[in-house]
Amino acid sequence: MPITSHYGWSELAGRYIDLETGRFVSFAKIRNVLESVMDASAVRMNILSQQLVDGSISIANWQVAMKQQIKIIHVNAGMAANGGFAQMSQSDWGAVGQMIRAQYGYLDKFAQQIANGEQALDGRLLVRSDMYGDAARGTFEQMERRLQITNGFEEERRVLEDKLNNCDGCLEQAALNWQPIGTLDPIGAEECTVRCRCEFEYRRVGENGEWEESEE
């Protein structure tokens, strides 16, 4: 593992720092970087599912390979949200493991539906399998939320990614505006599930007694 990185992690600010420029790196930027890695993961998952549809691999082998890829992308999402590998505690790994565990449960149910014919071996299977890559977005948001609780943020609100194309659940959550941190539904819990592109914003009372919002 390399000893040096172009980036540092400021625990006080809860943000990455570009060590060459001395500037903070926004969480919005980190999200975009993760999306690139998620895209690569989605390609791998799609190849595996296509092999299953084509009859090149058995359902058991597909499950094993999909689980490996699910773990890789969720581990990456967890580390990216939490300041990198060096900042991950046992508790953080446990939280990532719980999110992976949920995905494994969904995948096994999916596999059973394929085996009993409830899920056809067609394009819909490919669309559904794509969702396992998208789910890493929720892991990123949930890990960032944990981090912001640690950083003393007290309230959160859901920010809609695209005001013209949101599901009812996301609209209802966003309408609640500021709420105690950890009380709104997690990203991915509404009808749009893992396709959700909402984010949380956080705020805490600053030294001057005014609300101070998290930097994106």
């Binding site: 690569a40 691999i57 990216a80 493991g97 992976i100 096994d108």
Partner: protein, 56 residues
């Protein structure tokens, strides 16, 4: 050349306990994840996850 199809076979049935154990993150999992990140993140960010704390 003809394509040889494999049997779909049966899905793996893992118990809750087995799934709990399988979902735990090991050192090998982390190595694989970091490798995947370095191979697929934009060049500017391949070492992002190697960031060290700067404000001790």
């Amino acid at each position: 050349m003809t394509d040889k199809k494999v049997s779909l076979g049966s899905p793996l049935f893992l118990s809750d306990k087995e799934l709990d154990e399988l979902s735990q993150v090991t050192e090998e999992d982390i190595k694989q994840a970091l490798k995947f990140w370095r191979e697929n993140a934009p060049d500017e960010f391949i070492d992002l996850l190697d960031a060290q704390k700067v404000d001790e």
